[in-house]
């Protein structure tokens, strides 16, 4: 089984302006949403208390709210979590209250109404810890980008590095935009997913770059556009194959992995789709725009290498 018979010859570079428009729209929409709606930060970043409880049967949220209101917890967010018998309660940080005590109060209030309530999860993050996590998360993102930038400059050529990084920023921005637009919970695991998306998307980009470099060295008398097209065509079936297998397992994680891992797998699914697109259309286009040429990629010492390469073993 294969995606196509014979050699592919799709003019990807010819579509680069369409891709540019599409990417611009997505990025601008994402930034607009991030600026106006912001992210629905989880308690990992904002601080606060989260209590997940399970009831023996389906429960009405209004009842849960009234039980909490009786204990003077009015400013809380109550929602079903995965099933109608499970409830997630989020309480913002509260001044003057021994913060770790809040979850105790909440559980006691719920137990008063329904004795069979089961504590499934309690998370409490102090405001200071939340700030630190936000700061560390941002730093981690920047360090990952810098580390990757350095690797590409050393291993390839500087003109490729901005291409790869722009593709990564593109992917991360759109994934975050998606979370902002739909107001999905943005927690610590989503941040980890974003870093994994960076790794994954880069993986794809590198494979394309590797082939571009090889073709620049091997094929004579070809314009950079033709070489890029050729390289993407040669790698496209691999790019799609890997994305498909990765999306298969991620879907399995999303469907069977349980509610706790939902946001994480969703971020990865969105990121992998965008990352696949960007490694085809964004990364090489940027390298092209920065004027990558044959002479940039020629091995310095022996220029005869490409000849032997071509002959094969």
């Amino acid at each position: 089984m294969r995606l196509s018979k014979g050699k592919l010859a799709i003019d990807f570079m010819g579509m680069r302006y369409i891709a540019l428009v599409l990417s611009s729209i997505l990025v601008i929409a994402s930034i607009a949403s991030l600026a106006t709606r912001g992210l629905n930060f989880g308690i990992d970043f904002t601080g606060g208390t989260l209590v997940e409880v399970g009831y023996p049967q389906a429960v009405d949220l209004a009842n849960v709210r009234s039980a909490l209101a009786d204990a003077r917890y009015e400013q809380v967010q109550v929602q079903h979590f995965g099933a109608s018998s499970e409830v997630l309660i989020r309480i913002p940080p509260r001044a003057g209250k021994e913060s770790a005590q809040i979850s105790e109060d909440v559980l006691a209030a719920l137990a008063k109404q329904e004795a069979a309530v089961d504590m499934r999860r309690v998370e409490f993050v102090g405001p200071q810890v939340g700030e630190e996590l936000t700061e560390q998360g941002g730093l981690a993102m920047i360090y990952a980008l810098i580390g990757i930038l350095i690797y590409i400059v050393v291993r390839f050529q500087w003109r490729f590095a901005p291409g790869a990084v722009i593709a990564l920023v593109h992917d991360v921005t759109i994934t975050m935009g998606f979370f902002s637009l739909f107001q999905f919970d943005f927690n610590l695991t989503v941040l980890a997913a974003l870093l994994a998306v960076i790794g994954y998307s880069l993986n794809d980009t590198i494979v394309v770059f590797d082939r571009i470099r090889e073709n620049f060295r091997k094929v004579r008398k070809s314009s950079p556009i033709d070489i890029m097209n050729m390289s993407i065509n040669q790698t496209i079936s691999r790019t799609l194959m890997t994305s498909v297998t990765t999306l298969l397992v991620l879907t399995s994680l999303f469907v069977f992995g349980g509610e706790v891992i939902h946001a994480f797998s969703l971020a990865l699914i969105v990121g992998v789709v965008i990352g696949t697109y960007s490694s085809i259309f964004v990364a090489s286009t940027t390298a092209l725009a920065l004027g990558v040429s044959k002479s940039d990629l020629m091995p310095v010492v022996r220029s005869g290498d490409n000849e032997t390469d071509r002959a094969g073993p």
Binding site: A100, F124, L133, G199, M241, T242, T245, L247, F264
Partner: protein, 618 residues
């Protein structure tokens, strides 16, 4: 050319065998067990294990296995119900000198444990339990040091007969105001001699000679470090008293402590006990002066007005008979006369001497027990949360001394038997050197833990099977070879996690799932390259060779960049993120081995031996 030398086959087979052995213990599951360990001097020896065996035998409770480990006994049972029932009997038989904790003991067969092969360590989100991050209030530690110096300097100046107008603890240090310049000079030289680490600054703010003295910065740092270490020690004692198997108590950063308690069912109790700073003090009641006048504001020098827990006030002498840190043992129980909850206390030699002297001279007079608690209270000042240490002091009981006593006696007046139990536990485990506050909590109930394991396992297996089928359909024979590699990859990830005894968390499982999807990437790269070579008209053998050769650098490049991201995640690593990063990094490394080296070995076996291969099934 498509043949591997013998040593490569041997290497591969060795890796497979070792991988299987170390991954195997994970298939056996765990037995519900009780872990019995001694508190303080109590030894866990043959008599204890004999007692346990006898008690359970008498009660008709079946034991699966009883083992003696280093300083502990592990008793395994068939199911959790028996375990729960057995715990009651064992606790009753052994008393408070032993801690009986619920545990899950790996049911790994002996031949595997002889290789040191153990199952993966499950994280709190999978087995259920409590994770606390606690912040030690360093400001309070500094304040306590200044208060201690205040007392010491006061005593020193009195002994040396140096008169002062004012001596008190302030934010900046101990402030002393003198009546004459000469007194100040004498005091300063005394301080230099007796407390060389203090930094003294003179001032004349009120027109009188004065100075403020405080511990040097280095000493403050040492005090804080000591407070942290002391707190870790105290927390460890308290956790031991709580009866938790395999707890983790570690320093994190300059002022924080991580406490992880697997399998704790009541996080509320854990919070109360770990954070408690309660202690007791024994003081004489001032019966010479009038209580009403003291309440009106005229408190006599040498005495202090205290609130009573049951309401009202009582006037106590400032000098202390015995303090909480002189208590070496404490047990809770019920008073034999009144039936009310009590704590029976044992004092150390110093405390006992002082108590003996006092009771000898004061039979028939009242003595008070003061309950002291240090808490941090957060108040919002100008929109910013500000922490402030608060000291709560209450008199829990005033009793008439009927007889002379020294080291052992009882304290009543507590609210409930639970309070008595917890107070006894806290007194036994020692005081916290500085108040602590929980700044992060992650608790997972046992039911969610079980769900997480089940769902995590399902998503790995389903994702894995789907990829297997997909690869086999798409690449046929080569796809099946890639499937073998993927299976080996999964075994190796589990084996390495087990060998490292790394903690497996739910995000860690997610990392494994992601690796399963991405691990085939290397094979896809190679196989696509082989197809390409075939299309270019190369012979099957040459295509296989070229496919592996050419894809290699691409695979390395692609994986190294993913590894960079994973390592950043690892160093960023707080709990949930770290687990993901660990499995992802391990998965990347093992997948390179299995996808390149492993598949090549099998492909070589299938195709390499033949002279002519008409067609590749790819």
């Amino acid at each position: 050319m498509n043949r591997y030398p013998l040593w490569k086959h041997i290497l591969l087979i060795t890796v497979i065998v070792v991988g299987c052995i170390y991954a195997l213990p994970n298939l056996y599951g765990e037995d519900p067990a009780l872990q019995i360990s001694g508190v303080r001097q109590a030894e866990v020896d043959d008599t204890v294990s004999a007692t346990v065996a006898r008690v359970l035998g008498d009660a008709g409770i079946g034991i699966k296995l009883l083992e003696r480990g280093e300083g502990k006994i592990m008793v395994r049972f068939e199911d959790t119900e028996t375990q729960l029932k057995a715990a009651d009997y064992v606790k009753a038989a052994l008393g408070t000198d032993y801690v009986v904790a619920f545990n899950l003991a790996p049911a790994t067969p002996a031949w595997l444990t002889s290789f040191n092969a153990l199952p993966m360590y499950l994280g709190l989100d999978l087995r259920g339990g409590v994770h606390f991050l606690m912040e030690v209030d360093m400001q309070a530690a500094g304040k306590q040091a200044i208060e201690r110096y205040t007392t010491e300097i006061r005593t020193l100046l009195r002994e040396e007969k140096i008169r002062y107008a004012l001596l008190r603890a302030e934010q900046a240090g101990v402030r002393v105001v003198f009546r004459s310049e000469e007194d100040r000079a004498r005091a300063e030289s005394l301080l230099r001699k007796n407390f060389p680490t203090l930094v003294t600054e003179s001032a004349e703010t009120t027109g009188k000679p004065e100075f403020t003295t405080r511990p040097s910065e280095q000493e403050t740092r040492e005090t804080q470090q000591f407070a942290l270490q002391q707190n870790i020690l105290t927390l460890r004692n308290r956790v031991n008293e709580l009866g938790v198997a395999e707890p983790v108590i570690q320093q994190q950063g300059a002022s924080r402590i991580v406490v992880q308690l697997p399998g704790v069912q009541d996080p509320g109790q854990a919070k109360r006990i770990l954070g408690a700073t309660a202690t007791l003090e024994y003081r004489a009641v001032d019966i010479e002066h009038d209580l009403e006048r003291a309440i009106a504001g005229k408190v006599p020098a040498g005495s202090r007005l205290y609130r009573e827990r049951k309401g009202g006030h009582v006037l106590l002498k400032k000098s202390v008979i015995a303090t909480g840190d002189q208590i070496v043992n404490a047990r809770s129980g019920f008073d034999s006369m009144s039936g009310s909850p009590m704590v029976s206390v044992t004092l150390d030699a110093k405390g006992a001497r002082s108590m003996l002297r006092f009771t000898k001279e004061n039979v028939g007079k009242p003595m008070a027990v003061v309950f002291i608690e240090n808490r941090s209270e957060t108040k919002i000042v100008d929109g910013e949360p500000v922490k402030r240490p608060v000291k709560v002091e209450e008199v829990v009981s005033v009793a008439t001394i009927r007889d002379v006593f020294s080291s052992r006696f009882q304290t009543t007046g507590l609210d409930s038997s639970r309070e008595a139990q917890e107070l006894a536990l806290i007194l036994r485990s020692g005081a916290l050197a500085a108040p602590i506050e929980i700044v992060e909590e992650r608790t997972v109930g046992p039911s969610l833990g079980k769900d997480n394991i089940r769902q995590g396992f399902n998503s790995v297996m389903i994702g894995f099977c789907v990829v297997l089928v997909f690869m086999a359909l798409y690449y046929r024979v080569f796809g099946l070879v890639a499937d073998l590699a993927l299976t080996l990859n999964l075994v190796l990830i589990v084996a390495i996690l087990s060998m490292l005894q790394a903690t497996l968390t739910l995000p860690g499982i997610a990392g494994i799932v992601l690796t399963v999807g991405m691990a085939v990437d290397a094979n896809v790269l190679i196989f696509e390259r082989i197809r390409e070579e075939l299309r270019n008209g190369n012979s099957p053998q040459a295509s296989i060779h070229a496919g592996y050769e050419k894809a290699l650098s691409t695979i390395a490049d692609a994986n190294i960049t993913t590894l960079i991201a994973a390592i950043v995640l690892l160093s960023f690593g707080t709990g949930p993120v770290k687990g993901f990063a660990v499995t992802l990094s391990i998965g990347i490394l093992t997948s390179m081995f299995t996808a390149i080296f492993g598949t090549r070995a099998v492909i070589n076996l299938v195709y390499g031996g033949r002279r002519r291969v008409a067609q590749l099934m790819i």
